[in-house]
Symmetry: C2
Subunit: 205 residues, 2 copies
């Protein structure tokens, strides 16, 4: 399986960025297999591997998942005082892009729901999500981590028959990018690295 992920690690990490606009080309079974094998290699506490991946390529199911995602997205926005599109500043690129994405979500050829079977350590599944995005990147496939929260969670349980004791936390849309991979904007190292005490930036950062 490693022979399909030959991109140097540095190239994958430093050119990864959120991809939200996709070509219609499908994601093959083989690519999904490689991406999810990589995801499943991630570390977890006492190796419990709490992640489960539910792949959605069926157009009608993708449409229903988009509706659920959009309800969850607006739920989070309303909690932050944003009641509708009119409350998002035209120059707020991050939110405008996220808003447009709620309308284009199901255009991703594959949507991968990421679930946790151990609800007390639920966000551990993020190490697997990061492996998934890096493996996709190495295959020329873009994606982004989207949250399934608020009303979206019971809706996804209902649509896909997910048991009550399983938590759905994220969905990763995947597709070949329209547009380009990274680099993405990030803070300089001196803003995020300290040594021996809080606020003490080392010379090498």
């Amino acid at each position: 399986m490693t022979d399909r992920l030959t991109m140097p690690l540095g190239e994958a990490i430093f050119s990864q960025r959120a991809i939200r606009r996709y070509k219609p080309d499908p994601i093959s079974d083989q690519d999904l297999q490689t991406i999810l094998l990589a995801a499943g290699r991630a570390p977890s506490a006492t190796n419990q591997q709490p992640w489960r991946f539910l792949v959605v390529r069926n157009p009608e199911l993708k449409r229903r998942l988009q509706e659920a995602y959009t309800e969850g997205w607006w739920h989070r926005r309303r909690a932050a005082g944003i009641m509708g599109p009119q409350d998002i500043a035209p120059d707020d690129k991050v939110l405008q892009s996220a808003l447009r994405f709620t309308e284009e979500y199901a255009l991703a050829p594959a949507l991968v729901l990421v679930c946790s079977v151990h609800t007390h350590v639920t966000n551990e599944i993020l190490t697997a999500c990061q492996n998934m995005l890096l493996a996709a990147r190495a295959l020329g496939i873009g994606g982004t981590l989207t949250g399934i929260g608020g009303p979206a969670e019971p809706l996804t349980h209902q649509i896909f028959g997910i048991p009550d004791d399983v938590e759905v936390r994220f969905c990763v849309p995947l597709g070949y990018p329209r547009g380009h991979f990274g680099p993405a904007q990030r803070k300089p190292l001196s803003d995020i690295v300290f040594e021996d005490g809080w606020g003490k930036s080392p010379a090498w950062a």
Copy 2:
């Protein structure tokens, strides 16, 4: 920076495993710089980059961090009914290895505390942790994700002067491995991948 991380992505992902026993050789400034630059490239919701990394190589500070980590580790064990070493089965390899690690923690040449400045999305920092572990792997450096919880959190705040509104969640010990990298034991894909509905394993998984 990418020229230092030339290992193929597949090799890094499929040979990553938790490394808990280290050679005494130090981790250089240059390697820490590469590892933490890679960590900082990880994705986060609305690109908030909530992670901060506090590197500890000073022996006295490492010793105090080991004490804090060990208190937190036993706190989690007691919550699970394990009151002392006598309650851990001799053939429970995972817990025996974790127990031994509480005694050898400060032997790691570098301990990297991973903090979150946005406490409501605190575990988002796990994408950065996974980049960190993969970049370390590509440099021949091993590590593992350890939890800083319960009494360990206020102790680390005190030792390192971390502000109250910053959350300390993980610490990643780093060092050159005694012993070998992966592969690690993982479930087969058919156990963790479904398509279109819960429990429906696709033929390709």
